[in-house]
C-alpha cells in the first residue's frame, strides 16, 4: 500500500483527432524511477536500492498506450547493468589471457603443463589482420556507396514502386492532407514556372 496517492493521469485524446498526438507534459514526479515511499534510497541509475522487491517503474501515459515502446527504450535497467558487468569482466579476462600468451615464454607455460596453445606468431598476426580489415572496410564502404548511387539516367531518381502504386486518400475537411508523392512535372511547374527570383541569385 503506497503512502502517497498517485497523481491523476492527464486526459487521453481520441485516436481520430486530426490535430495529431499531443506530447504529454510530464509532471515533476512522473516518469521512470519515480521516488517511492520514504524508506527506499534513490540511486542515480534510476532504480531504487533497498529492500526487495524493486518498485515497479511508473511510466507516462504515452508509453503505457503502446507496450512496444517499453522494450525498446534505452534507459538503464537492472538486467542491462548485469550484462555490462559480465562483459567488462570477460573482456578484462580475455585481455590478461592474451598478454600472458604473447609475453610469457613457452618454457614457463610448459612447466605449468599448459602445452596446447596456438603459435605465438598469431599474437602479432591477428591484430595486423584486424587493422588491415578495418582500413579496407572504410574504402569498401565508400566504394559500395558510390556503386549503389543511381546514375543520372535512371528512373529511380524520379519515381519508385511505392509512388506508382499509391492510392488517393479521401479529402477530409479541416484535416491535414495525407502524405502523397507529387509527380515531378507538377513540382517543376510550381518551382520554376511561377517563382523566379529565389533561384537566380546563385
Amino acid at each position: 500500500m503506497r503512502g502517497r496517492a498517485a497523481p491523476p493521469p492527464p486526459p487521453r485524446r481520441r485516436a481520430s483527432d486530426p490535430a495529431g498526438p499531443r506530447t504529454p507534459e510530464l509532471r515533476p514526479d512522473e516518469g521512470r524511477g519515480a521516488p517511492a515511499p520514504g524508506w527506499r534510497v534513490q540511486s542515480p541509475l534510476g532504480f531504487s536500492l533497498g529492500f526487495p522487491p524493486l518498485a515497479p517503474l511508473r511510466l507516462p501515459d504515452c508509453l503505457k498506450a503502446t507496450g512496444n515502446m517499453v522494450e525498446n527504450s534505452p534507459s538503464p535497467l537492472p538486467e542491462r547493468a548485469i550484462y555490462g558487468f559480465v562483459l567488462f569482466l570477460s573482456s578484462q579476462f580475455g585481455f590478461i589471457l592474451y598478454l600472458v600468451w604473447a609475453f610469457v615464454p613457452e618454457s614457463w607455460l610448459n612447466a605449468l603443463s599448459l602445452t596446447y596453445w596456438p603459435q605465438k606468431y598469431w599474437a602479432v598476426a591477428l591484430p595486423v589482420y584486424l587493422l588491415i580489415t578495418i582500413v579496407i572496410g572504410y574504402i569498401l564502404l565508400f566504394g559500395v556507396n558510390m556503386m549503389s548511387t543511381s546514375p543520372l539516367n535512371s528512373i529511380h531518381t524520379i519515381t519508385d514502386n511505392y509512388a506508382k502504386n499509391q492510392q488517393q486518400k479521401k479529402y477530409q475537411e479541416e484535416a491535414i492532407p495525407a502524405l502523397r508523392d507529387i509527380p515531378i512535372s507538377e513540382v517543376n511547374q510550381m518551382f520554376f514556372l511561377r517563382a523566379k527570383e529565389p533561384y537566380t541569385k546563385n
Binding site: 543511381s150 528512373i155 512535372s185
Partner: protein, 188 residues
C-alpha cells in the same frame, strides 16, 4: 532572333548559352563548353614525360622515351575525338520532336532525335553525382503500356553540366513549346 548569355557550370567554368528562336514552335539552345586549357594540357604532358624519364633512368632503355611521346600524341588525339565535347545543342520543334547534338573538339558530331509522340515532359531533376547533388535537365519518355508512366529518362547537356540559372532559362522555353502541344491535342 538570336541572343547569347553567359553562365557557369557546376565546377565554375564559363559557359555560353546561345538561344535561337526560329519560330514560335521551333527553338534551339546551344551550349558551348570551356575549351581545353593550355595549362592542363601542359601539366599532363609534363607529368607523363617526367614519369617516362624516371623509368628511363631506371631501365636505360631509350624506347621508353619514344613510347612516351607516342602515348602522349595518341592520347591527345583520342581525347579530342572521343571525350572532349565543345558544344551541345538542343533543338525543339513543336510537332516533330527534340534533337540533341554533341560536337566534339575534333569535329565529330553525334546526334540523337526523339519524336514528339514519345516525349512526356522536359523537367529539371536533382540527383547525386559523384560527391555533389546537381540539377540537370532531362526528357521523360512515355510508357507505351501505362498512360501516366515514365519509361525512360534522357539527360541532356551531360558534359556541359550548367547550373540552375541556365537550366531554368532552357526549361521555361521548352515548357512554352510543350504547352502548345497540350493546347492542340494530336488526333492519333
Amino acid at each position: 532572333m538570336e541572343d547569347e548569355l553567359s553562365f557557369s557550370d557546376i565546377y565554375g567554368g564559363r559557359l555560353a548559352l546561345q538561344r535561337r528562336y526560329y519560330s514560335p514552335s521551333c527553338r534551339e539552345f546551344c551550349l558551348s563548353c570551356p575549351r581545353l586549357s593550355l595549362r592542363s594540357l601542359t601539366a599532363v604532358t609534363c607529368t607523363v614525360w617526367l614519369a617516362a624519364y624516371g623509368l628511363f633512368t631506371l631501365c636505360e632503355n631509350s624506347m621508353i622515351l619514344s613510347a612516351a611521346i607516342f602515348i602522349t600524341l595518341l592520347g591527345l588525339l583520342g581525347y579530342l575525338h572521343f571525350v572532349k565535347i565543345d558544344q551541345e545543342t538542343l533543338l525543339i520543334i513543336d510537332s516533330l520532336g527534340i534533337q540533341m547534338t554533341s560536337s566534339y573538339a575534333s569535329g565529330k558530331e553525334s546526334t540523337t532525335f526523339i519524336e514528339m509522340g514519345k516525349v512526356k515532359d522536359v523537367i529539371i531533376n536533382e540527383a547525386i553525382y559523384m560527391q555533389k547533388v546537381i540539377y540537370y535537365l532531362c526528357i521523360l519518355l512515355n510508357d507505351p503500356v501505362e498512360p501516366h508512366g515514365i519509361s525512360q529518362v534522357v539527360p541532356v547537356f551531360q558534359s556541359a553540366k550548367p547550373r540552375l540559372d541556365c537550366l531554368i532559362e532552357v526549361y521555361r522555353s521548352c515548357q512554352e513549346i510543350l504547352a502548345h502541344r497540350k493546347a492542340t491535342p494530336t488526333s492519333s
